[in-house]
């Protein structure tokens, strides 16, 4: 077993252990036991418990981001592409929060611990949005003078639909209508002449 031990195997096991014991109690020894290896084998891949937790958090966030990058670089016209991207982000977060609330709560704790991982993740999202808005300026759909600032504004203005702090609102049946109204306002704002 120890020979086949990859970082990916360790991260999968860590996610299982976190799910089972919760973020406060899960230890590297639990991960090693779940894999049938010594904790030294785990430390060979991840030098500290913190490094292991950061890596599993990054993997979880990256998994959420995979479909988004594809949308960001698709050929949809930029205003509709912006809508698709924001709707997919909201859907992905909502699915995670509602389908597996324990794991979502666990990662909400981990995300709170790993500010540098989260900052990188958010920067990646804002990069996606900046790309869509820049394409929209090139196509004449949008008029933003500063696409990156506009992207940060769009990301902030949709926090209620992607920030885990608002997960409690996501099962409200009316939220879909408010989401659509927010995106419509933002797209109209990006279109308008300044």
């Amino acid at each position: 077993m120890a020979d086949a031990l990859t970082a990916e195997t360790i991260l999968s096991a860590t996610e299982d252990v976190l799910r089972r014991y919760g973020p406060a109690k899960a230890t590297v020894v639990d991960v090693a036991r779940a894999l049938g290896v010594s904790h030294g084998s785990v430390y060979r891949h991840f030098p500290t418990k913190f490094a292991l937790r950061e890596a599993v958090t990054q993997r979880w966030l990256d998994r959420a981001h995979a479909g988004l990058s594809e949308i960001a670089t698709s050929r949809e016209p930029p205003p509709r592409r912006l809508h698709s991207w924001l709707a997919e982000l909201f859907d992905a977060k909502r699915r995670k929060a509602l389908v597996d609330p324990e794991l979502f709560a666990t990662f909400t704790v981990l995300v709170g611990e790993s500010s540098s991982v989260v900052a990188l993740h958010i920067a990646g999202m804002v990069d996606d949005l900046t790309g869509i808005i820049t394409d929209g300026v090139a196509s004449g759909d949008f008029t933003a003078r500063d696409p990156r600032l506009a992207a940060r504004a769009v990301f902030s203005a949709t926090a209620r639909f992607h920030d885990p702090a608002h997960a409690g609102d996501w099962s409200d049946p009316a939220i879909e209508m408010v989401f659509e109204a927010v995106v419509e306002l933002l797209v109209a704002g990006l279109r308008s002449e300044r």
Copy 2:
């Protein structure tokens, strides 16, 4: 002392007690002791501990709202009035969070307990915004077909600048710039022809 005991006096004392002991430990007996009265005198005004906590939460939220209603009904042109209202809301929340973080944390807990009080408070805010947007449609500045839905969208889109869940971001020096960019986008969106 018992003769002069008003609801307002009790609420002020309750706020002091909450500040001193925190929301988990503060009791009606503590409030009565602080006022030098029996706890029966307190219960004559507030029949349960929950009713007292709800009333003190409502008072705290109303205090925040006082200046906003004035702006909502001012004669400023609606687009600038919307900006003033949102800036005042953000400033008021930020002042509370940064100047007296213990009391802010206390009320964040209380707000989480009193969903009906909070729902009323939010409805009052959305009423203010609906009024401003309706005035803007009348003046020809805005084009919203459904001012109340637009108001809910504006309130949601600015959650990062008024929801206590985001208080950790409010001391970031860059947030002012993002706030201005969000409001600019929303006002441009409200102005645009549909």
